[in-house]
């Protein structure tokens, strides 16, 4: 089996090195497939939708005529739904993460919560849509509104926020807590003045990743019954008189960017496909921008933290 002469051994070494090289090439190609797919997808939408990316595209309602259709109701809907999602998921997720890391002692209940968070992260998003249809839309009577959609997506990204909060808190060294406790701080004072501020970059990263996932979610929002053709805007959140806030928009019907894109994609006419490309380009730019922000936060804000 093992050749006794030097040339035989050299042959084996050459063969093994060749295999190494072949695999390295394969690995590089596999990586290229991933990266090139991303570029192909992005550039195809940019070229196909380029003509439609005019200012009017952002200020027009959808229309039967593809050339006049725009994404006004879609992007306004997306922004408002995201607002509800952030307001519901961030406080809940951070509070839950803080509880699990700083307060909970190991018990059956906390084990249960932990297993539960892990499992929720694996539930398909469309199932959240069914939950929202049964609970928010009908049982709570919130209807097919911005509020229902925002809360649904809030629940969907809750595990992301919780996990990010926990990881950020876990990286804070124990002596920070001990220092504060030694000065007589209560647990809440330690949490509020030290733990939460120091874990902010990590929490923010998680929140943005979660939001960038939520803004592209289509299936759960369709399931609760978002409309695909909306030619009106919800009432403005800023009211004319004191306290200058208006909550009527929460009950309004709506559409969001990915649903508008789905609607255009499923039409056979070429011109609507062009609109779909333009809407998809805007949608991907939005998620790219959010991801870029989170990557920036991870590299720059965290770099400054030295314990």
């Amino acid at each position: 089996m093992i050749p006794a002469d030097l040339s035989g051994i050299q042959r084996i070494i050459r063969r093994n090195k060749r295999r190494d090289l072949i695999f390295a090439i394969f690995g590089f190609i596999a990586l290229l497939i991933g990266v090139l797919t991303f570029l192909a997808l992005f550039l195809q939408m940019a070229f196909a939708g380029w003509e439609r990316l005019t200012p009017e595209f952002f200020t027009s309602f959808p229309s039967r005529r593809a050339g006049q259709a725009g994404i006004l109701s879609a992007w306004v809907g997306s922004v408002l739904v995201m607002l509800v999602t952030a307001v519901s998921a961030v406080p809940l997720g951070v509070a839950a993460g803080v509880y699990l890391e700083e307060y909970a002692t190991r018990s059956l209940v906390t084990d249960l919560i932990e297993i539960n968070v892990t499992n929720l992260a694996g539930v398909p998003s469309i199932v959240y849509g069914l939950l929202a249809l049964g609970v928010f839309v009908y049982a709570f009577g919130l209807g097919q509104s911005i509020l229902s959609a925002g809360l649904t997506l809030g629940l969907l990204i809750l595990p992301v926020v919780i996990v990010a909060t926990r990881e950020a808190i876990r990286s804070i060294p124990q002596h920070i807590r001990e220092g504060a406790y030694a000065l007589g701080a209560t647990r809440w004072q330690v949490t509020r003045d030290h733990i939460v501020p120091y874990s902010m970059p990590g929490i923010l990263t998680g929140v943005i990743i979660g939001m960038s996932r939520a803004i592209g979610e289509t299936a759960p929002v369709i399931t609760i019954g978002a409309l695909t053709f909306i030619a009106f805007l919800p009432e403005s959140p800023i009211g004319p008189e004191f306290p200058w806030l208006n909550f009527e928009w929460l009950k309004s019907g709506f559409t969001v960017m990915p649903i508008q894109m789905f609607n255009w994609t499923s039409r056979p006419e070429e011109a609507f496909q062009q609109n779909a490309a333009a809407a998809g380009f805007v949608l991907v730019l939005m998620t790219l921008a959010m991801n870029a922000i989170s990557i920036w936060i991870r590299y720059h804000l965290r770099k400054d933290i030295k314990w």
Binding site: N16, G122, L158, G216, A219, T265, A277
Partner: protein, 313 residues
Amino acid sequence: MESLESASFEPLRVSDRLARKALRNTKERVIEALLFAAAGVSVLTTVGIVWVLVSESYHFFTVVPIWSFLTDTMWTPLFADAHYGILPLLAGTLTTSLVAVVVAIPLGTTIAIYLSEFARPAVREAVKPFLELLGGIPSIVYGYFALIVVIPLLQLLIPGLPGFNMLGAGIVMGIAIIPYVSSLAEDAMRAVPMSMREGSYAMGGTKFQTAVRVVIPAALSGILSAYILGVSRAVGETMIVAVAAGMQPNFTMNPMEPAQTISAYIVQVALGDLPHGSIGYQSIFAAGLSLMLMTLLLNVAGHFVRRRYREAY
């Protein structure tokens, strides 16, 4: 801070101090209760999901016998002659997932090995954000890509391929789940201690030999659970198949044909307006329950694989 500001230089009476301490303790307890309630919301979510799916499906199964749901080979809930057999939708879900897995597992594993064992740190740092972005693209955009780019390309290769088919949808779905598979598998491989690799190198092993004979066996539990997570993602994926695989239930495992998946059926019904409480409305909850059970089974399997094959160092 507040205790410092309110502290006066007059020494407090003992009773005042005790009162303040009691107030502070109450506040602490209230806050802890609030935080616990926030953590409880995730449990309530699960309870809500199970309750909604089971209660609506219960109504559904009082009309449609569970046996015919599981064995009937036709799914025509919106026709006058309604059949409620989950098999065609199940076949669609399994076929698209199978295609996706055939794409995602080889590519994802190769990428993971390459990044963990071969690539220089600079390359790794440059490429990983791209993979993360690939994982962050909305699935509706992938659906568009499948319909407008990938299926026309496939039609050039395979003449007679219909405009909607499971092959194109499955391939794109596979690309969409590559980042999940590759990043989890890479994490598992990078967790293998350096000393094990060094042992192999010291014996004259090449990088490839080390990867295949040392790193992969040691990281097997993590790699397998990455695969299972990928499958579970594919099973629950909705928009790609809703856009590109066609919306007709079709009892076939042939990826060249159009078909509907369980998730795509739910979307189709939600797009129309079925009245609340009708059998058609309840059928999407029965479909959702089947989907939920499949992914739950996969997640539990993943959990056990991680436990069973974990090698501790």
